[in-house]
Symmetry: C2
Subunit: 355 residues, 2 copies
């Protein structure tokens, strides 16, 4: 059967404890002994028994990364970056960075958190916007609290800070979350709309993301704030999911609600692509008839025709930083929270309104 630590010890003529020490590299071991042990490990094709090790040490080397949609590069880029900072750090004991796909489902989010708690995960990174349902938010907060209690380091990436129930000044509530990297969706969205306003647009449609999501709300709020500041009345707004199809359908609906639209702002780049397709199918040219803008600046956005005006979020950098924070390789930002800003990328899909 599979070789155990004891087998290795016997073969190397040392005690099991010594083998353990060699493998974990935590205690000094004579070079000659270590050599013998490593050879025995090799000869026996020995692989440490993770569960046994985790049980004895009361901690595992598993790090969970939760994403809302693994097929969406928005999450893939962040998750990949985080994973690259976690797996195989030189010298450090190998961590197993794993990505868990919730599919945006609240139940699955909680299920995965429980599963990670069960595995005694060393750290958990939650990416992307949160659901606004208070019940679910409380459930997540509670779960995170228990995970943190059990020693897991919690990091939020691209997610608003956790609102701690009953965490007032001096209540002594230790925050469950070690660090939060939050995206400035509101500010980015605001600058994007200001750009449109500067180009002369006054009738702007909005294809929003799924309802009850923080990302959706913040982006809408930034948009509305820019309009309010300029004294421009909001145009029609339609909610949909974060996919291309939704952008297509919602844009047709927008056009129906207000045929005089001169610009469409989309929840993200993927949705914007769908919006572009709908406009083209209606015989409208971009940006001559209607300008279109996205959000996130995913890799394909620059290849759209015309190239998409959007707000660039440093997804890779944020994910990598979250990974380092989860590993304790980077100091926690002051207050535990850092805001990540987006950068307006003006490209061909937006232009001046016709004279």
């Amino acid at each position: 059967m599979t070789a155990t630590l004891a087998d290795v010890a016997a073969r190397a003529r040392v005690s099991p404890a010594t083998v353990s020490r060699v493998l974990n590299g935590n205690y000094p071991v004579a070079a000659a002994t270590r050599e013998r042990v490593l050879r025995a490990v090799d000869e026996l094709d020995y692989v440490l028994n993770g569960p046994a090790s985790s049980l004895a040490a009361a901690t595992s080397d598993l790090v969970g990364i939760l994403v809302n949609d693994i097929a969406d590069p928005f999450f893939g880029i962040m998750a990949g970056a985080a994973q690259s900072e976690i797996g195989g750090g030189p010298g450090a004991r190998e961590k197993l960075a794993v990505v868990c796909n919730t599919g945006g489902s609240p139940e699955r989010e909680l299920t995965y958190l429980t599963l990670l708690q069960r595995q005694r995960a060393a750290a958990v990174i939650l990416t992307g916007g949160a659901l606004e349902d208070p019940g679910h938010a409380a459930a997540v907060a509670a779960k995170l609290g228990r995970l943190a209690e059990a020693g897991a380091r919690i990091v939020l990436c691209g997610r608003p800070p956790l609102v701690l129930p009953g965490a007032g000044a001096g209540t002594g509530v230790r925050p469950a979350v070690a660090a939060t990297l939050t995206f400035d969706n509101r500010g980015g969205s605001r600058r994007l709309t200001e750009h449109l306003l500067a180009l002369g647009h006054r009738r702007i449609g909005y294809v929003a993301g799924p309802e009850e999501r923080t990302t959706t709300r913040h982006r809408v709020e930034g948009h509305l704030a820019a309009l309010a500041d300029a004294g421009v009345a909001p145009g029609p707004l339609v909610h949909g999911s974060y996919d291309r199809r939704s952008g297509y359908d919602a844009t047709l609906e927008l056009l129906r609600l207000d045929p005089s639209l001169t610009a469409v702002v989309a929840a993200n780049d993927t949705v914007a692509l769908g919006a572009c397709a709908a406009l083209r199918d209606r015989g409208l040219s971009i940006p001559d008839d209607v300008s279109v803008a996205g959000f996130d600046d995913l890799p394909f956005s620059t290849d759209a025709v015309p190239a998409l005006t959007t707000v660039r979020l440093p997804l890779y950098e944020a994910g990598a930083r979250a990974g380092r924070l989860a590993m304790g390789k980077e100091p926690v930002p002051p207050g535990g929270i850092a805001t990540v800003h987006g950068e307006l990328m003006v490209r061909g899909s937006t232009g001046r309104t016709r004279a």
Copy 2:
């Protein structure tokens, strides 16, 4: 601290063994007892200790899904589909389906396999093409053999069948791989090139994927086979990675090598987008001056302008099937291998050559 099985047992006034039986549902337990146990579990916020459980049971509920690039929807779609078939099957004990991103690195692939072996993973799914280096292939085969020996079910998805060293007829070598779903890259590529030939193209450039990868080779082979059958000489070929930038650069190189090209075939859709950008920047129109074709039919391909002619691979279906196979929820195909075919999607990016 964290509650244990014994705590639950004490609170429910039963033995630890009974609690275990209730939790695992493997043995009959009186309804009243079960009720009491479940209440105690709830009151104590008890969460099973995974490592301890795995150690005792000599198996874990972890299922690993290896991908080459998590930021690429090609893998994200497969992984998400597989995960949806694995996580939270009703009744079944919750499995933890986790995605591991190798980044295309052979070392990380082996590292992840070792880590999964260490965790005594219940199953492992490897997605996407493999590296052709014989040394690495042998190392992977050996690792998979050991994983399988330890009870893990191995499934390949979108990957060529594992060549078993020394597995001849009657050698009694039990294949380590439970099931293989392989993509017909060769056939799909061949049909794509035939389509181009039918449109009159005779000077076709090829932007290939990374060298030493099975996917790259098979797609190139299909392309060359179609040309050979038609008696057409192969055009220039340039290798690159699977990203947009690579497609852009390679296409400029192709144009330099043969300015009279009338078509460009790309390794995949992402690369094709880069190719389109390069052609446009050179002032060439698609498909009037040059036709472009991709592979995979990722969601954004239909939104390219013009929409991309490509070969659709049923990524979601294949991933889901791999997930079911990993869970033993679906019968293994005859011979352990099933070929998944692609479908030619003719769209606007390819057209007849000019008269």
